[in-house]
Amino acid sequence: MSAVDFTLLIAAALLALGPTAIFIRRLSWAATFIYASAIVMCGLFALIGLAGLAGYGIGSSQVLPLGLPWIGANFHFDALTAFFMVILGIGGGAISLYAVGYGRHEHAPMRVLPFYPAFLGAMAMVLLAADAFTFLLSWEVMSLLSWALVLTHHQEEDTRKAAYVYLLMAGFGTMSLLLAFGLLAGPDGAYGFAAMRGVTRTPVMAAVILVLMLLGAGSKAGLAPLHVWLPLAHPAAPSHVSALMSGVMTKIALYGFIRVVFDLLGPSAWWASPAVILLGAVTAVLGILLAMMERDLKRALAYSTIENIGVIFAALGLTMAFRANGMTAAAALAFTAALFHIFNHMAFKSLLFMGAGSVLNATGLRDLDGLGGLIHRMPVTSFLVLVGAMAISALPPLNGFASEWLLFQAVLLSPQIPQAGLQLMIPAAGGLLALAAALAAAAFVRIYGVGFLGRARSDAARCAVEVDRFSLAAMGLLAALCVLVGVLPGIVIDAISPVVEAILAGRLPDQGQDAWFTIIPIAEARSSYNGLLVMVFVALSASLAAWAVHRYASRQLRRAPAWDCGFPNADPITQYSSGGFAQPLRRVLGVNLLGARETVVMPLPGDRSPARLTVEVGDPVWGRIYAPIAATVSTVSTKMNRLQFLTIRRYLSLVFLLLIFLLLGLMIWI
C-alpha cells in the first residue's frame, strides 16, 4: 500500500469518525474514544509525513473515479505534502490529547465531537488533493467544518457574529481560489495539478493568479487586511479548536499558497515579490500591535497568529524575490526559514492556546485584567506557557529564535539582488519584521506578566486549580518540542531540505556534518548559530546565579507586605493592568497606526464621582476598509430595493433595454 493510499484511508477514517460520533453519543466514553482515535490517526499522519521527508513513499499518486468527469479525484503525496502532514500530525495529535482532558468540561460535547475529527480529515484531504476540484472541495469542507466548530457556543451573540464574519470571509476566499484555479487551468481546462505545471503563462497572468491566491489563501491564513475574521473566530471556538485553527488550519492555508505560487505557478517576475514581502511585514506589525493592546487572552493570541503569518509571508516573498533572480541558495534559505517558522508556529501557538484554554477552564476568565498570580495556583501550566511565550518571543535557545534568525540571514542577503527597488525595500521590510519581533516579546511579557505573575485580581483567579494530566501532557509535549527543535535546529533544517529541493531545485548546505549541532546557512565566515551552546550557557549561568544567590543570601524565607512603602493594604488592582502595561506603546505607535484615543473625564471640583480614563483602540482595518464596503453595499441595496416593486411591464422594459444595450455593446465591440 503506497503512502498516498494509506494517508487517504486515514483521512477517510477521520471523516467517517464524525458521523460515528453521532451514533455513539449516548455512551459515556464517546468523547474519549473520538479524541483517542484522533490521536492515533494524527500520530500516523506524523509518521507518514516523517517517512515521506526521509524519502519513503514520495511521488505516489492515486486517482479515484469521483469528482470532475474525465479527470477524477487526483491525490498525490510529495515532499511538500509530507512536511505539512507532519505539521498536521503533530499539531492535531497534541491538540487531540489535550482535548481528551479539556473536552470533559465542554457543556455540549456533541456540538464539537462530530465536526472535530472530520475537520482533521478534511485538512489532510486538502494536503493530498492533486486537482483543482478535489482541492477546492476539501478546502470548502474544511472551512465549513471549522465554521461549525466556531459556532459551538452559539448562545453567545459575539460567537454568532464571529461565525458570520468567518463564513463571509471564507466564502470570499474560496471564490478567489476558484478564480485562481480557473486561470491556472488555462483555456484547455488543465484541472489536474500535473497538467497545470505544464501550462505556460504570461507574467501578467501569473501576477493576477498571485493576487487571487493572496486573497484566497491569505484570507484563510489571516493576511492583513483580510485578517478581520481571525481575532473574532479563533477565540470564540472552544480552546482546543482555537488551537487547531490557529496552530494548524492557518498552516493548511499557507500550504495552499505555497502549492500554487511556488509549485504550480513556477518562478514569477521579480516585481511580483515586493507586494508579498510588504504585505507580510505590515501584517506582522499590525497583528502584534493589536495583540499588545488586547485585553482578551485568546484574542491577543489570535492577533499574535496574524503577526506570525505576516512573518511567514514575508519569508515567502523573499523566496520569490531571490528565486526570480536565480539566487537559488538565498531562495532556499528564505524558504527554509518560512517552512521552519511554519513548524515552530504550529508548536508554540498550539501550546499557548492550550494554556489559554487551561486558564479559561480553571478560572472561567479570558480577560487578562481578571487574572494574575496563576503561577502559584497552576505552576505546571504557568511553566509550560512560559516556554511557549519565550519561544514565540524568539528568545534563544528556543525554536522561535532559530527560524527568525534564518529569516534575518535571508534579509541580510538582499544587497546581492540586482534590482535597486528590492535592494531598498527588503531592508525596510526587515526593519518592520525586527520591530514586530521586538513588539512580540513586549506583548508576551505583558500577557505573561499580567496573567500569570503578580497577585490574583479576582476570586476566580485566586481559587484556580491546576488542570488535568492529559492537558498538561499535551502542553508538555509541545513545550519539549519547542526546546528540542530550538536546541537542535540543524536536524529540522535537514529534514525540511527535501521539500526545498523539490520546489526550488536547491537547498541549504547539509547541517548534519557540522560539529556540535551548529547551523551554518551560508558560510561559516558569515554567520553561524549553535542552539546547544546557548542552551548550555544559559543553563550554566543561571545555575551559577542561583547558587550564588542561595549561597550568599539569607536562608530564611521572609514574607513581607508588598508595596508597603507608604502604601499599606495595597489592593491587587493597584498592580499593572494589561491596559496600563500597553500604554507607552499605545501612545507611541497606537495613536498614529491604530487611531487609539484616550479621553480623561475629570469631575468638577466638589463633584464626588470618580475620574474616568477611557481608551478606544481597535483594528483600523474595520473602520477604513470594511465599514465603507458595508456602507456601500447597504446604500446600493437600499436603492436597488425599489426594483422589487416595479410593474410587470417595467420589468419587461428593463429586460428589453438591457438586451438592446448588450446588443449595441456587441456591435461596437466587434
Binding site: Q644, F645, T647, I648, R649, L652, S653, V655, F656, L659, I660, L663, L664, L666, M667, I670
Partner: protein, 220 residues
C-alpha cells in the same frame, strides 16, 4: 436554382419581419389576432422552404406544427378568450404608433447590422435568417413592452417565439426533438397563461396589467 432558392428564403423571412411590423400598429384585438395568424402562416412557409432546401424532412413537421397550432388553434382560442372577456373594443397602446414604428425600424436595423457582422463566416441562408429572426424577436419584445393588455402581451410573446423558430430552422442540424419540445412548451405556456387570464379576470374584473399592479400587496 441556388440563386432563386436564396431569394425566396430571403423573401419569406423578410415577409415575416414585415408582418411583425404590421402587428405593431394594430390597435384592435381582432385585427391583431388575424395578423398574428398570418404571421404564423408566413413562418410555416418559410420553414417549409428551408426544409425543401436543406432536404430536411423533419422541418416539414415543424412547419406543420407552426401552421396548425399557431395559425389556427392559438389565434382561435385567443379570439374566444377575447370574446368571453369582452375586451375586443379596447385600444391599448402605451406609446404612440408612430414612435413604436420608429423604434421597431431602429431595432431591425440594429439586429441586421449586428447579425451580418457577427455571422460573416456562416453561409448566406443562415445569415439572412438569423438577421431577420433577431429582428422578429426584438419586435415581439417591443410589442410586449408597449402593450397594456395581457392578451396582446401573449401575442407579442408568441411572435417572439416565431422568430426563434425561424432562427432554429435556418441553423442546420437542429434536432427534431428540440423543435417538438419547443412547440410543446409554447403550447403549455399558452394554456397556462390562458387559465391565468380567466383567473385574473375573475378576481380583478380586468386583464389590463396596470390594474393588476394596483392590486399588488407590496405596491408602494
Amino acid at each position: 436554382m441556388d440563386r432563386i432558392a436564396f431569394d425566396i428564403a430571403h423573401l419569406l423571412a423578410g415577409g415575416l419581419l414585415l408582418v411583425s411590423f404590421m402587428m405593431i400598429y394594430q390597435d384592435r384585438m381582432f385585427s391583431l389576432l388575424r395578423v398574428f395568424a398570418f404571421h404564423a402562416v408566413v413562418l410555416s412557409l418559410s420553414v417549409a422552404w428551408q426544409a425543401y432546401n436543406q432536404n430536411a424532412p423533419h422541418l416539414y413537421i415543424t412547419a406543420a406544427i407552426a401552421l396548425i397550432f399557431k395559425a389556427i388553434i392559438i389565434p382561435g382560442a385567443l379570439r374566444r378568450i377575447v370574446l368571453q372577456l369582452d375586451i375586443h373594443r379596447e385600444v391599448e397602446n402605451v406609446v404612440g404608433i408612430g414612435v413604436t414604428m420608429l423604434a421597431g425600424i431602429g431595432l431591425s436595423a440594429l439586429s441586421i447590422v449586428l447579425m451580418l457582422r457577427v455571422t460573416n463566416t456562416a453561409d448566406a441562408f443562415a445569415r439572412e435568417d438569423m438577421a431577420f429572426a433577431l429582428s422578429v424577436v426584438l419586435l415581439g419584445l417591443l410589442m410586449m413592452v408597449t402593450r397594456r393588455n395581457a392578451v396582446s402581451q401573449i401575442v407579442g410573446f408568441m411572435s417572439l417565439e416565431n422568430g426563434m423558430i425561424l432562427a432554429a430552422a435556418g441553423a442546420k442540424g437542429m434536432p427534431l426533438v428540440v423543435e417538438i419540445s419547443v412547440a410543446f412548451s409554447v403550447l403549455v405556456a399558452f394554456i397556462v397563461i390562458g387559465v391565468f387570464l380567466f383567473r385574473i379576470r375573475e378576481r380583478f374584473d380586468s386583464v389590463d396589467v396596470n390594474v393588476m399592479d394596483r392590486h399588488r400587496g407590496d405596491q408602494r
